[in-house]
């Protein structure tokens, strides 16, 4: 079959690889109808995630039709149309029974490796390095889904691929990030990063009834998309994030802050003097945990920091004094996709939201290598790419 394979930094190729096969009775093979490139894939593309091997099939946002099922995969049958959550969950372990699907204790077959790195590793993920199980990803014609009887979302034929595809990752990710803020009608929610995840954070915060939703980025068309979804926008190239947030919150700071940027944050190019002093006072350097530091600094005391943005290893100069003295709550993690998707699917069916708004580029899977570049460099107004095998 054809698939997108990782071969090193900046090197994704459209390769021919062996077809997947059922390896375990709980497996299923999916014939992929649509898949997408996620911001998390860019961390692989830019080689910030360790334990990748040349030839690994990438992609973790995909859907399609069930082609083959293992003998114990009772809840699925051939022909079912499913979206596959990017976090593989067994449904039976201690964590899965609590609903903490992204830290399933059984789905990561390389758990000892992850345990070494993180103390205790999380769930298996598709196409996301050998730290998370080394499972072949979904930017391919076919995918083997382990624990398929619990790792799927059935979707009705009345909805298009474009409307449901993002149930597997970015929609529940934006939703969980907003839910973790416990939004009240008086709240200002500030969101860093107007990428696809940030866009869903905005929609979720608006639906959940925040008083003000503020989006911070420097890509004009992404900010305009966020504005369309109900956000007030701050272009950090043009104005000071700190002083604008202060004036929007009567000097008190946003109650809830969301980091939808992650480990590859840019440092603003035009920094005004106030911002500079803040940076100095906090002994910041232009490290890539920039957003995390900024959030800790601007957040209202007793507020919440919600961090869907992915971090891989270590960062330094985190103003932990501010974090502690302000009594901030930090919530983070890979998304417990299945926990939210039944509810979100209903909201799509009701017409409360149509996730396809975020798609700006659709291309053949063979165009994948180019589309990685287009998405990463935000060329041609690219916000979200859908690929068709």
């Amino acid at each position: 079959m054809k698939a997108l394979c990782w071969h090193g930094k900046n090197d994704i190729r459209y390769d021919t690889v062996p077809d997947p096969e059922i390896e375990h009775p709980r497996d299923a093979i999916i014939n992929v109808s649509s898949c997408a490139i996620c911001g998390s894939d860019l961390h692989l593309y830019d080689h910030f995630i360790p334990a990748m091997e040349s030839g690994d099939v990438v992609g973790h946002e995909f859907m399609g039709e069930v082609m083959e099922v293992g003998s114990e995969t009772k809840t699925l049958k051939v022909g079912d149309r499913v979206v596959v959550p990017f976090t593989i969950s067994c449904g039976e372990c201690d964590q899965c029974r609590r609903g903490n699907f992204s830290v399933c204790e059984r789905s990561n077959r390389n758990k000892p490796l992850a345990d070494k790195m993180f103390g205790h590793g999380g769930a298996g993920l598709f196409g996301y390095s050998h730290l998370t199980g080394g499972y072949a990803g979904g930017q391919a014609e076919y995918v083997r889904v382990p624990f398929a009887d619990t790792t799927h979302i059935k979707v009705p034929s009345t909805l298009t691929d474009e409307q449901v595809l993002f149930l597997g990752d970015i929609f529940p990710t934006g939703w969980q990030a907003a839910v973790a803020c416990d939004i009240e009608p008086t709240d200002t929610v500030a969101i860093w990063g107007a990428g696809p995840v940030g866009q869903f954070c905005v929609r979720s915060a608006v639906l959940l009834g925040a008083k003000q939703v503020i989006m911070i980025d420097n890509v004009p068309e992404r900010l305009s998309m966020a504005e369309a979804g109900g956000a007030i926008t701050i272009n950090f190239d043009e104005e000071s994030v700190l002083s604008r947030l202060q004036s929007l919150t009567q000097g008190k700071g946003p109650e809830k802050c969301i980091d939808a940027v992650g480990l590859e944050a840019h440092t603003p190019r035009s920094i005004d003097s106030v911002y500079d002093r803040v940076k100095q006072a906090m002994m910041l350097e232009s490290d890539r945990a920039h957003v995390l530091r900024e959030m800790i600094y601007v957040c209202r005391p007793a507020g919440v920091l919600s961090i869907p943005g992915v971090y891989g290893g270590l960062v330094d100069k985190i103003p932990v004094g501010a974090l502690m003295n302000k009594g901030l709550t930090v919530r983070t993690g890979q998304t417990h996709v299945k926990r939210w998707t039944d509810d979100l699917l209903e909201r799509i069916e009701e017409g409360q939201i149509d996730p396809s708004f975020v798609i700006t580029h659709t291309a053949d899977l063979s165009q994948g290598p180019e589309m990685y570049n287009t998405f990463r460099d935000k060329q041609d107004g690219c916000v979200k790419v859908v690929l068709k095998p």
């Binding site: 930094k9 900046n10 190729r13 839910v179 973790a180 803020c181 416990d182 939004i183 009240e184 009608p185 008086t186 866009q199 929609r203 979720s204 608006v206 639906l207 959940l208 009834g209 890509v219 004009p220 068309e221 992404r222 305009s224 998309m225 504005e227 369309a228 979804g229 109900g230 109650e255 007793a302 507020g303 919440v304 009594g327 709550t329 919530r331 509810d343 909201r347 017409g351 409360q352 939201i353 149509d354 996730p355 708004f357 975020v358 700006t360 290598p369 180019e370 570049n373 460099d377 935000k378 060329q379 041609d380 107004g381 916000v383």
Partner: protein, 181 residues
């Protein structure tokens, strides 16, 4: 990889090959062009071609490709000067060289432009997304439409406002609290 990536790599290897030839066969080159005595200049060009050739093989060959274009322009200028000498015995070869360098310049220019677009951050047209709310019933209808959603207990803010979580905030004020007796 895109078409222009392959072309850049092709130009890279071509540049390295031609550069090595100029470096080690400078005598033969100058003889063929009727430019005896200019060997060190040719070797210098060769070294330059090898360097830009290696650069063209890198992930982002954009700056090096523009250097190649500049180098081409210099070569063309030098050849044009040589052509003005009516007594050069190798005028035919010189004309051929001008044509070849001219063609290479065209390719270099094309690939440099393509790679500039390719590696341009936020390059290309910026479409208008100001209508993409994502809310089929409109933005105003969406505000608070999911307010009925119950935040799971463990995701509640540590200190929610009295409006959403009424009741006293101190231990002693708690009705039936063991402290207040």
């Amino acid at each position: 990889m895109k078409g222009s990536d392959h072309l850049a790599q092709g130009l890279g290897w071509f540049g390295i090959g031609l550069g090595l030839w100029k470096l080690f066969e400078a005598k033969r080159t100058t003889r063929a062009l009727g430019l005896e005595g200019c060997e060190s200049l040719v070797r210098l060009c060769g070294a330059r071609d090898v360097a830009t050739g290696i650069g063209s093989l890198t992930v982002n060959p954009k700056p090096v490709l523009w250097a190649r274009v500049a180098g081409d322009a210099l070569d063309l200028a030098a050849l044009a000067t040589a052509l003005r000498d009516k007594h050069n015995p190798q005028r035919d070869n010189l004309q051929l060289a001008v044509a070849m360098v001219g063609a290479t310049t065209a390719v270099d220019l094309y690939v440099a432009q393509a790679q500039t677009r390719r590696h341009g951050y936020q390059s290309g047209v910026t479409p208008d997304y100001s209508h993409r709310s994502g809310f089929p019933k409109g933005l105003e209808a969406a505000r608070g439409a999911a307010r009925d959603f119950e935040t799971p207990g463990h995701m509640k803010a540590s200190l929610p406002s009295p409006a959403s979580s009424p009741g006293p905030r101190t231990q002693t004020g708690k009705p039936n609290s063991p402290i207040s007796g």
